[in-house]
């Protein structure tokens, strides 16, 4: 204490050397903290920008609009042939060539160039339309046909003249043609409703790929999770929170639930594969198995939040019910449970949101399969939710593994869709919490 300059007996109005140093350390520390928050928020922003900039264009799609007349004879001939869509494709191609010639748009494009402008999926669309509505046969119809994925990519900036020069699937002449058709008004970019309704499409036809089956499959699974996880979770929580005596068994259950909440999701996938598919012989890729796996995964979350909700109800409520002669069971079901309902609901929605975004376990139970048919909720052979299906996050994964960059756009668009669903669910949870929040 001989170093008088550092003793605090100096005047308070002058900052001594040591205090200066300490205050500088304080400012540095604060800057680190603020920096950490900025980094976190920045990461979120970059993540969202990256996804949106990659995926926003998937909500738009390039279509070609030109008149096609299909006569009854042509229709019969096509339906009689072996490759039905191939026959329709030919009709569409010749109709397009005719349209381009009459309007003097053809330029230096070859016949092959013109043919490849149309998506392979367009013929199937036309056939469906004709089969559904025979009255249009023989009349001139203004079809809106999907353009080839590369042409679509050209309007979205994914395909340029430089890349086209290196690409065997598109030529510069086709791009010129696309430009002329746009000026003419026969090539338009519109909102892509079919992205939400179409099933997946083959690797060659990214322009036709949609989320219809995936959304349906995810909905089915959420229904299974809701119907199983909510009642089981609430019943288990009621027992553990209100009735269970403190003994080794309840201790084991407690530790178990806490641990299950932290078990890697892929382990649930292995469980589903071994128990539900190999042992119980439920159908692979079915929303039922997916739902069961997600139920087991969501249960701990629901139990933990339900117990927290039950715990927040003050004992005086229980005492009041018991005091007028209600049984313990009645006090719980008549008073505690209704009061805890908003909390339980909030926890359940958050658990569902988690389940909706889960991918890894679904990969193992075969939901990554290519599914083109819309699954029915019930079929006599396969039972309830037994038909093969896929799910939103798995569809995203599936698309990321395909080489055509058009699928990256689709995957990002699917993520935006998934995030919108999650956002709505979380907003609902927050709304419920705000609306029913109660302080005791």
């Amino acid at each position: 204490m001989t170093d008088l300059s550092s003793t605090p007996s100096n005047s308070l109005l002058t900052e001594d050397k040591r205090t200066k140093k300490r205050n500088a350390a304080e400012r540095r520390f604060r800057a680190f903290g603020l920096g950490a928050i900025l980094v976190s928020c920045l990461m979120l922003v970059i993540l969202l920008i990256s996804i949106v900039s990659n995926g926003a264009s998937s909500f738009k799609q390039t279509y070609m609009a030109f008149p096609v007349t299909i006569s009854q004879e042509e229709f019969d001939a096509a339906e009689g042939s072996i490759l039905k869509t191939g026959a329709y494709n030919k009709m569409l191609q010749s109709a397009l060539t005719e349209y381009l010639t009459t309007n003097d748009l053809l330029g230096d494009a070859t016949e092959d160039d013109v043919k490849n402008m149309i998506s392979g999926e367009a013929a199937a669309d036309v056939r469906r339309l004709l089969l559904a509505n025979a009255a249009v046969i023989g009349t001139e119809i203004d079809f809106n046909l999907l353009a080839n994925g590369r042409i679509d990519g050209y309007f979205k900036g994914r395909v340029t003249r430089e890349t086209a020069a290196l690409d065997t699937k598109i030529t510069g002449a086709q791009l010129d043609l696309a430009d002329r058709m746009t000026e003419d008004g026969s090539m338009v970019t519109r909102f892509n409703w079919s992205f939400f309704t179409n099933p997946d499409a083959s690797v060659q036809r990214p322009e036709a790929a949609g989320l219809g089956v995936a959304i349906l499959g995810s909905l089915y699974m959420m229904a299974v999770v809701l119907c199983l996880a909510l009642p089981i979770g609430v019943a288990a929580s009621i027992y553990l929170e209100e009735f269970a005596k403190k003994n080794w068994l309840t201790d084991v259950i407690e530790v178990n639930i806490a641990n299950l909440a932290a078990v890697p999701s892929i382990v649930y996938g292995i469980l589903g594969l071994a128990i539900f598919i190999n042992f119980a012989e439920l159908h692979q890729s079915s929303p039922l198995v997916g739902g069961l796996v997600l139920t087991l995964m969501t249960l701990p979350t629901i139990i933990i939040s339900t117990r927290a909700a039950l715990k927040s109800i003050p004992p005086s409520i229980r005492d009041a019910a018991l005091g007028v002669g209600a049984s313990k069971m009645q006090s719980v079901f008549h008073h505690v449970l209704p009061l805890a309902a908003p909390g339980i609901l909030t926890g359940t929605i958050i658990g569902l949101a988690q389940a909706l975004g889960e991918t890894a376990p679904l990969l193992l139970i075969g939901m990554v399969a290519f599914v083109k048919e819309y699954p029915a909720a019930y079929s006599p052979e396969l039972g309830l939710f037994g038909e093969a299906s896929t799910a939103l996050p798995v569809q995203i994964f599936n698309w990321t593994t395909r080489s055509d960059p058009a699928f990256v756009e689709r995957a990002s668009g699917a993520i935006i869709t998934l995030l919108v669903f999650l956002l709505m669910m979380n907003a609902l949870a927050i709304f419920l919490r705000k609306k029913f929040e109660r302080r005791w």
Binding site: F29, A36, S40, G233, Y239, N256, G357
Partner: protein, 410 residues
Amino acid sequence: MLPLTIPFLATIGLATLGYFLGRSRAISVAGRDMRVLNALPHQHGLNTCFSTLLPPLAVMLVWALAARIASRKGVMLAPENPTLVYIILIGLAVAGLGLSMMKISRDFRARNASERWIMGLLIFASTVAILTTVGIVLSMVSETLNFFGQYDWKAFFFGTTWSPSFSGRGGDSQLGIIPLLWGTLYISFIALAFAVPVGLFAAIYLSEYASPRLRSIAKPMIEILAGIPTIVYGLFALLTVGPLLRDVFAEPLGLGDSASSVMTAGLVMGVMLIPFVSSLSDDIINAVPQAMRDGSLGLGATQSETIRQVIVPAALPGIVGAVLLAASRAIGETMIVVLGAGAAARLSLNPFEAMTTVTAKIVSQLTGDTDFGSPETLVAFALGLTLFAITLGLNVLALYIVRKYREQYE
């Protein structure tokens, strides 16, 4: 499949009927004055309903399980004539209905009886958690043993090469877990090295410094990161972070030309873990009593001195628990490494090289064409069991530490 749909529906129908029958019988027993009944008609109805419903359901469950186990052993338990099954099950339901109807009298304590049934259901629900764990362990243990029957366990745990052969069965496949564990730990280490400082500083700033306004903006933003599905992070790694790291660091430094790398997966996983670390630490820091802060500030410590020398040491056990939980998350994370880390099993120190992890290999061995007789498929169960054991150890340790920590301040 056992023909259970018809008896199932019939039982449910009978039980519904039972509720109304029981109720109306109780009302008629009571005569005009409901007060002579020992329990409400509703409770009589419930008791009848549960007595009808639950015994056949329990039998069906046990039966289905037994038949499934038997059929795997090659024995058919399902009788040739399903009518017998119908008669037994529906008979059980009718018997339950009849017996419980006969019990209805003025003195019958239907409330206690129906509550015993409900209690049974509650207990059954809470055993689902245990059954899940049992299911996880059983499903993996039996297939793992199967695997070790075909592949030497020493070669699995100590082998330094991972190269499954895709043509045909076993033979020249080398299935050593070491390179996979190395990739897993390396990626987790990078993730934690990023997430722990950032998450901890963010939590400290939010709980000790931030104005309510900043807190109300920043906290939800960080929490949004926690709600984003891992597949989204995976795509973020694949599309944005991977190419960026390759172009900015790996290629100019001559460290590799792969977009998927340990660094890519580690950093993105780190972003995913930030909210996890920060929200757990936030809880833990807030649990440190205000008296500690006052004591330190009262001695003339600055706020950062108080945090570094009093609050963080006091919260250290809890923070360690949080970090262990985060580590368990990182080790078990799948989608980010599947999309961001690569597929090559490699023992290398270069963080810009592609490596793979236990979880990624579980996915690759169990998707596509799987043959449950070959070691290449079965190895996934051994990998899964190893993963489960590691994360279980971390979780139990972390939960124990956190629980002890909370008790200290309660």
